[in-house]
Amino acid sequence: MGTITLEKVTKSFGDVQVIPPLDLEINDGEFVVFVGPSGCGKSTLLRLIAGLEDVTSGEIRIDGRNATEVPPARRGLAMVFQSYALYPHMSVRKNIAFPLRMAKMDKAEQDRRVENAARVLNLSNYLDRRPGQLSGGQRQRVAIGRAIVREPAAFLFDEPLSNLDAALRVGMRMEISELHSQLETTMIYVTHDQVEAMTMADKIVVLQAGNIEQVGSPLELYHRPRNTFVAGFIGSPKMNLMSGAEADKYDATTVGVRPEHIDVTPDGPWQGRVGVAEHLGSDTFIHVHETGLAETLTVRQTGDISVRHGDMIRLTPRQDEMHRFGADGLRLE
């Protein structure tokens, strides 16, 4: 079991309200990702759920029971920290067994669970090393191991992959997804990495300044962003947002179109001068200036297109992929 409900939860540090009243429902077994710009309150929200910070007002329910006043250890949640927070003077085995030892579980059961976790996480050969003798990815796995042996109701991850290099990050991303489908336990995952959010989540929660801007599946957010913030935040490279004359044509205050939904054509309605063209091999991102629509338009094309700095090109947006937003920034249907 692992349903978590937040009801009108707020958090203030002194006079500064970091989380304004916030409601959120997390279902059992879901993989929920919190994304948002730096400083928007993702970690704070996670720490409120963990119980490491007290809520200023509101209620947190775990499995239907009010957990607002319950100390962290008794909430049945396990957390993986950004810095891993391994105990440096204990061996990997002792690190992983620590929560079990605190729970006074009997030794045989402890060993069984530790061996189990080590096998799942490919740590069996490292059990007698200290954390200082492990690589970043291995430390990360130890931290996850320490979380899974407790068999918690939900896992909380705070940017667990941000200290790893790109290749390792891809690997660990898949391992965590794999782990989720094996364990079928609720996971809440904080990141500001788009790709992590899109690939791992069942449900993405987009935050800005402590407010929930939108909750939905990755594709829902991609295809139907609720407002201009989500439209600009989800998707890489960012959606092109335009206001003024072009928006008026669509009877909206702002219109947006994603780079992948603009084609380079000989007779398109828009034209502009090529600035930087980023050739990634599989794709080319062309930054187009002097279009009269926005400062820069980003266009995504296949890798083999040949455009050069300073070329004039014409562009055609796909009409059925235009997003319209009203004066209040909300999506117009």
Binding site: P72, F81, H89, F98
Partner: protein, 290 residues
């Protein structure tokens, strides 16, 4: 900085300081060794000559020697235990956010700035004096007989005074160590179900291991040679109840005017200090490895 040229330059640069330091330490050491094998009493200064190990024999068979040895070790051990235990507790206390933290920290550190002679005199006359001392007043206020600390429990009193002086040092070093503890580690332990006492035992104490080692090593060096506090409070007495090795050497060489036996005592003290150092490094030195 590791070319042959830069290494040679570095050696030349530090040579004067090294020579000066060597002279500073080696000459007195050699003189002490020399006198320890000589008959040299200040009352009969002309009657000098080589006496072999006779000075050592006399110093080691002196009934005061065994007392002094035990007192020295008790003094070191007692002060270490008090300063480390109280130091850890104080450091944890001072690490908590509280009102007037800066001032409290300065107050805690203050005793370290008081000279040993002065603080021992203050303790002797203002606190422990059986007639005028604050403790005497306190005892009388609750209807008890005033206790003459320095004559009833001289060694314990001196341990108390010295511990009071060294507590700030221990606290300071342990405080900086506590401040370097990663707070996420504490939070992780909290989520893992460790209560405050378990967090202290499993997280804080191991983290403090290296700092405690440093405190023990440095303090031991200084505590082996405590002298001023004994001189101004008890003069090593009553009898030899508060005489340590340093004080015994002083008593032999300057009170009995026997430079030879005093020098032999000095050499014995050096050997003892080295034995203690070897034991310490064996026991806790591994904490210093990263």
């Amino acid at each position: 900085m590791a070319t042959a040229h830069s290494r040679a330059a570095a050696r030349i640069m530090i040579a004067p300081a090294t020579v000066l330091l060597l002279g500073w330490m080696l000459i007195p050491l050699c003189m002490t060794l020399y006198y320890s094998f000589q008959r040299y009493r200040l009352l009969t200064p002309d009657n000098r000559g080589w006496v072999g190990f006779r000075n050592y024999e006399r110093f080691l068979t002196n009934p005061a020697f065994q007392d002094a040895l035990i007192n020295t070790l008790l003094l070191v051990l007692g002060v270490l235990v008090i300063t480390v235990v109280l130091g850890v507790l104080l450091a944890i206390l001072l690490d908590q956010p509280m009102f007037g933290q800066g001032i409290v920290r300065i107050l805690v550190i203050a005793p370290f700035f008081v000279m040993p002679t002065v603080s021992a005199l203050v303790w002797k006359n203002m606190f422990m004096n059986p007639v005028n001392g604050l403790f005497a007043y306190a005892f009388e206020a609750v209807g008890l007989q005033p206790y003459d600390f320095l004559s009833q429990a001289p060694l314990a009193s001196i341990i108390g005074i010295v511990a009071w002086q060294w507590l700030p040092f221990a606290t300071l070093i342990l405080l900086t160590a506590i401040q370097s503890l990663n707070s996420e580690q504490m939070e992780a332990a909290e989520m893992d179900g460790a209560g405050p006492i378990q967090r202290f035992i499993y997280i804080t104490l191991p983290h403090l291991g290296r700092a405690i080692t440093v405190v023990i090593l440095i303090q031991t060096i200084f505590l082996l040679s405590i002298f001023a506090e004994i001189l101004v409070t008890t003069n090593g007495g009553p009898g030899t109840a508060s005489t340590n090795l340093t004080y015994l050497v002083y008593a032999e060489s300057l009170l009995s005017f026997d430079v030879g036996e005093g020098s032999a005592g000095g050499v014995v003290a050096i050997i003892l200090a080295n034995i203690v150092a070897i034991f310490l490094m064996r026991m806790i030195g591994k904490n210093l490895d990263a």
